[in-house]
């Protein structure tokens, strides 16, 4: 529970000595409660006070790491229910399930490794391989876990309710910190001991939020610190309810037993599209790990995009540095295109110029990270800002011509840009997808060196 100023005051020496910089212990307590001060500032605080306050200053949702090394993922440590209140910090880890008895399992693991894409200059990829034990044979499962790591290169989620199977697998791959995921509420202390022994995170599945809270307490007492809570196993309605209740209890009530990130499974019996839509909801609604059976890029790419969008900081659009960028290998006659410094806009346009295989310069105007039309509507993408960017870029020294290409959506700016900059404007297509064709056929300035 969060401590109030008065709760904290009771733990302080009450001498009002002022050494902390506050005039009284009460004033200092108030500052601590509103997180404007730290307890270290009081040199006289007792050990008891330090312990009590230390517990209260932990984040309401624990940060849990799955995996070790470069491809580890961190989940949890979220602070809000709605992203506009701040942002969501640690994006949902996407796990693809591979069943031990699947004859195609090796091919599947290799495919998982290939589920990575570049969007808006960011690498987006599947994070975890969820390995479902089916043989009941510890040796087999351990060998499978080891092989899965080699083939996928990803940290694992070990799904099994067999202690010997999990134990054997952890002997082999425990160092890579897989998430241990027993799918039953039985013997939680034994699983917790295993998690402690290998210092791995542990999922707890009580079957209901109340039971899960009980189990998490027991697991904690048995020495497992990094817990992940399983949300709902029935319909999507139940999962959504569980995820919401857990997040609220943790953030609003600082209810410790639920102060952990969550894991949710899409319904394995549903068709792939239904699983994909379910996963989209789980990503938006607080799941720390989502496990699905999806393997085709048609389903994974939208999900990774959902995650990228939901976890974008709403206060700062992703931006690129405003300057002149060469695309391909431009020469002195290559076309010059103009765009804004919103990452989505920049990378879309850059991608299309690249696809045209015509070397070009792309002038990126500082529009505070807004898109072409948004920036135009906000008067940030106008004759003045474009001309200024053109002058500052040094484009005139690099090019023999004086032609620039404006985005089709801001054709209305042509006249003014010509007036202000002295360059000749050509209006490009509206959508970036039209750029290759435009550069090859319609563009009249320069000569556009073909590199294909």
């Amino acid at each position: 529970m969060a401590l109030t100023g008065l709760d904290i005051y009771k733990l302080l020496p009450k001498t009002n000595c002022g050494d902390c910089g506050s005039p009284t212990c009460l004033a200092f307590a108030m500052k601590l409660a509103s997180k404007q001060a730290e307890l270290q500032s009081c040199p006289h605080a007792s050990e008891e006070a330090t312990a009590a306050l230390g517990a209260a200053s932990q984040p309401p949702i624990r940060l849990v790491t799955i995996g070790a090394g470069d491809n580890r993922v961190e989940i949890g440590n979220e602070t809000v229910l709605f992203r506009h209140q701040e942002t969501f910090y640690h994006q949902t880890a996407l796990a693809v399930r591979v069943r031990e008895d699947d004859p195609e399992r090796e091919a599947r693991l290799e495919k998982i490794a290939g589920l990575r894409f570049t969007r808006v200059g960011e690498e987006i990829a599947v994070d975890l391989a969820a390995l479902e034990e089916e043989s009941g044979d510890p040796e087999k499962f351990a060998a499978f876990a080891l092989r899965a790591g080699e083939l996928s290169g990803l940290p694992a989620v070990l799904i099994s309710s067999s202690l010997p199977c999990l134990g054997a697998a952890l002997e082999k791959i425990g160092k890579s910190r897989p998430l241990i995921c027993p799918r039953s509420p039985e013997k939680i202390e034994d699983f917790a001991a295993l998690a402690r022994e290998h210092s791995c995170p542990l999922a707890v599945d009580g079957g209901s939020v109340e039971k899960t809270a009980e189990l998490s307490l027991r697991a904690r007492e048995a020495g497992a610190e990094d817990l992940v809570l399983l949300a709902g196993s029935g319909s999507l309605k139940e999962k959504l309810a569980d995820l919401t209740v857990i997040r609220r209890q943790a953030l609003r009530k600082q209810f410790r037993p639920l102060g952990y990130p969550t894991i949710a499974f899409t319904n394995p019996d549903a068709d792939p599209e239904a699983q994909a839509l379910e996963a989209a909801v789980l990503i938006a609604k607080y799941a720390g790990v989502v496990v699905t059976d999806l393997i085709r890029p048609e389903y994974i790419l939208p999900l990774l995009t959902v995650r990228q969008n939901i976890y974008t900081d709403p206060q700062k659009p992703i931006q690129v540095e405003p300057k002149l960028y060469p695309v391909g290998t431009p020469d002195r006659n290559s076309p010059l295109l103009v765009t804004t410094n919103f990452s989505l806009t920049y990378f879309t346009v850059e991608g299309e110029i690249e696809a045209s295989r015509i070397g070009a310069y792309l002038l990126v105007v500082d529009t505070e990270g807004t898109s072409v039309l948004t920036a135009w509507a906000a008067d940030k993408f106008n004759a003045a800002s474009i001309s200024r960017a053109l002058n500052d870029s040094g484009a005139a020294d690099l090019l023999d011509h004086r032609n620039l290409i404006l985005p089709g959506y801001v054709a209305v700016l042509s006249g003014k840009v010509e007036e202000e900059s002295g360059w000749t404007v050509e209006v490009g297509p509206r959508e970036a997808s039209g750029i290759p064709k435009f550069l090859k056929t319609a563009y009249r300035g320069g000569t556009g060196k073909d590199q294909s």
Binding site: H84, A213, S235, L240, V245, A274, E278, E298, P302, E431
Partner: protein
Amino acid sequence: METVIEKWPAAINTVTIGAREDGGGTRSSTVTIGGETTLPFLAFEGAPPHRPALALDILDYSPDDWPETLREPFREALGDPAEWAGLCQEKYRPDLICLRLQSLHPDWGDTDPERAAETVRAVLAATSLPLIICGCDHPEKDNLAFPLCAAAAAGENCLIGFATEENYKTLTAACLADNHAIWAQSPIDINIAKQVNILISEMGFDPKRIVIDPNTGALGYGIEYTYSIMERIRLAALDGDKMLAMPLLGDVGADAWRAKEAKAAEKDFPEWGEENLRGPLWEAATAALLLQAGADLLIFRHPEALRKIRDHLDNLLDIA
């Protein structure tokens, strides 16, 4: 452990679209949206009284620029809005039809406002579903067409759009005269969304007959903004802001199919997989997020996207 149940002081308005014979129209069904007293799909706090409604787009011209994936389901009807509407109703079973009078636009054919009204009549005759009518987003042309179209659909209780902060008067007057509901659009801005509703209401129009379109950014192309603006509108409404208590509209299809990932061909992006799976799912995933943010009415382009979301709603509402 005591579950945190949120009790909100206010509820979302309900809006009905369409009129049966007993309501002065000729529709075989009507659609009612809104009425929520909690955040989306939190049944433990109160089940949503109405299922979100799903509409399918039809155009008043043949969209030759649409990708093949999107043209295929309507192939035999493209270019004939009445036939297109009939095909949709029979084959794909949306809750409503959304007629887009895009050819009014100077860049898209510059057709006569009278022709638009005729199209409205023809579509009403060809389908018995409730109708949404959408102008061409060119204020002058829209203002010529709105009164004619509203009159052509008199009695049918359509949803007509869209009204914006700069252009709401003609549409509002037309909807007042012929008793239609208004689709009010704002550019992903909660204050402007509220302002449009205030302006429309100040003309004597019932605010409980307005639907808010906070503007859809597609998955990968702005949905992170739309999502949060919708959430903020819904939170403000449940907290008692009457000028934001309208049901929310997601114009999903029109926006999702602008995304490269939705329409690109497999031969150009083999690593993205088959376009016939990818496109409809891109649209459906956009819709799934908007539903979580509070959308009550979704307008689709691809019938597969609509079907997937219908099933998804069963799953969310736990209807086997």
